[in-house]
Amino acid sequence: MKSKLSLHERIRNANASQEVEKVKARHTYLHGRADATGEWADIWSRDPNCSWAHIFGRMRGFDQVWYGSVAQYDKMSFENAIELMKIYPETAGKDPRPLMEASVHTLVTDIIEVAEDGMSARGSFITPGVIHSTLTADQKKYCNVLWERYGSDFVCEDGKWKYLHEQVCPDILSRMDCLNWAAEEYARITAPEEKEAPPVTLGEAPPVTDPGPLHLPYSVLGKPQNTVPWPEPYHTLDDENTYTSFVKHQE
């Protein structure tokens, strides 16, 4: 497709694409330390339209996202730290958040489109991740593999690129290399007694505005879901080009 953009605009957008890559990578490394505060305080927009979605539904508005993604997440890590200190007293005084686990959602296969107006960008990603922890309350280290897809919208605020929307779509989860997610799912659905699907997030689901499920992990009875299709070239962020429709304010 021939670009309608001037040379200046194309250079601006090429640079913007790299800046968005960096924001997305910062998310990964901050989340790897369970530093939800660093993530939502530094690389997220405070716009009332911001949103974060997972299987359980979509949180809308910065305050709801902060409550679910930061306050509730930190609570889990503090509760975990109290248990850890009983078994591993050397953990006392250390930041409880990274002690919980290193949840490393690596980023590959990115498709990033920067808006023609240069004020927003959209990206889809696959994340073949690992989630591991060493000192745990049950005194066994673990490493899980979790593959997900991301649909992410970003906005440029005062020259800085920030997250506006994130939708996370988990596809497969299992323990690294010694279990089989397909066999586990088959065993679950053919068990004589009904068993709930295992959780793909830690802790309780947070309060949401748009209830889920918004995407389902692998099932032998399920089809692939294109929940977060890659972004197409677009002019400006609007309801036709977004991973979260905008709230229509009442007049």
Partner: protein, 262 residues
């Protein structure tokens, strides 16, 4: 210091170009490792300027080799000797595998594909810092004719410097999070990291500066190597070399300490 400069179109496209060149450089390193071309990696991708060679470093969780001579001795010479010994053992177990140089690296295939790239180019454009994550594997033939395959997810943090013929690797820290044999249950490993038996630590030997710079027992708590932040010009304070290492301010106790009160 954050980079708050305003750039002309000419300057900005050069910066975009530089970041893409740096990505290619680190991708080439991945391919060199996979092809067992460590000598070529150091010759082609690492610093050539004598001043940069003196201050080059290669870090892992247990310290740093500093200066290209020490790096070459560990990364190329020592590795070559290990491979020669491995071939001797393979030959002894199976004489059909001749102990000749062209058979070096038989049964070996390692891949450290990088993802999650975060490249910060200095405001002055002379250096850059990058962080990647690799869900890596290393596979090696064993003397009994079997193979051993290890998963080793790791962070790879790199300082780059622009020399006359382009971008070069100056300092690197490869911080391995865990090592687990493929097909084995990782949770059955002893809980605390064992520096005597961990294959990455054993292979790294005793570096020029031997000290624990990342303790995996506490996951990523010590935040080393850290994410690169925007910066104006290179200094020791931002280096991934040993001069830039900062121990967490309130470290508290180390692994296994404070356990005698029961």
């Amino acid at each position: 210091m954050a980079n708050s400069r305003q750039y002309t179109d000419e300057e900005l496209i050069q910066r975009v170009w530089d970041v893409e060149e740096i990505k290619k450089l680190i991708h080439k390193r991945v391919i060199y490792i996979t092809n067992e071309m460590r000598k070529e990696e150091l010759n082609d991708l690492w610093v050539q300027d004598p001043n940069h060679q003196k201050t080059a470093s290669f870090g892992r969780n247990t310290g740093y080799y500093t200066g290209m001579d020490a790096i070459r001795d560990y990364y190329v010479v020592h590795h070559q000797k290990e491979r020669e010994e491995q071939l001797k053992q393979l030959h002894a177990a199976n004489p059909a595998i001749a102990d000749v140089p062209q058979n070096l690296h038989i049964g070996c295939l390692s891949s450290h594909p990088v993802s999650t790239g975060l490249v910060e180019l200095a405001g002055d454009g002379k250096t850059a810092k990058g962080l990647w994550y690799a869900i890596a594997q290393e596979t090696e033939a064993q003397p009994d004719g079997t193979g051993k395959a290890l998963w080793m997810p790791e962070k790879i943090a790199v300082d780059f410097v622009k020399e006359e013929d382009g971008w070069k690797i100056w300092h690197i820290v490869v911080s391995t999070d865990l090592v687990s044999e493929a097909g084995e249950d990782y949770s059955e490993q002893e809980v605390y990291h064992n520096y005597e038996t961990n294959p990455v630590d054993v292979e790294f030997g005793t570096p020029t500066i031997a000290k624990l710079i990342h303790n995996t027992d506490f996951n990523w708590w010590d935040n080393y190597p850290p994410m690169p932040e925007a910066y104006e010009t290179f200094s020791d304070a931002v280096s991934y070399g040993p001069e830039g290492y900062v121990r967490p301010a309130l470290y508290g106790l180390d692994s296994k300490e404070g356990r005698n009160f029961r």
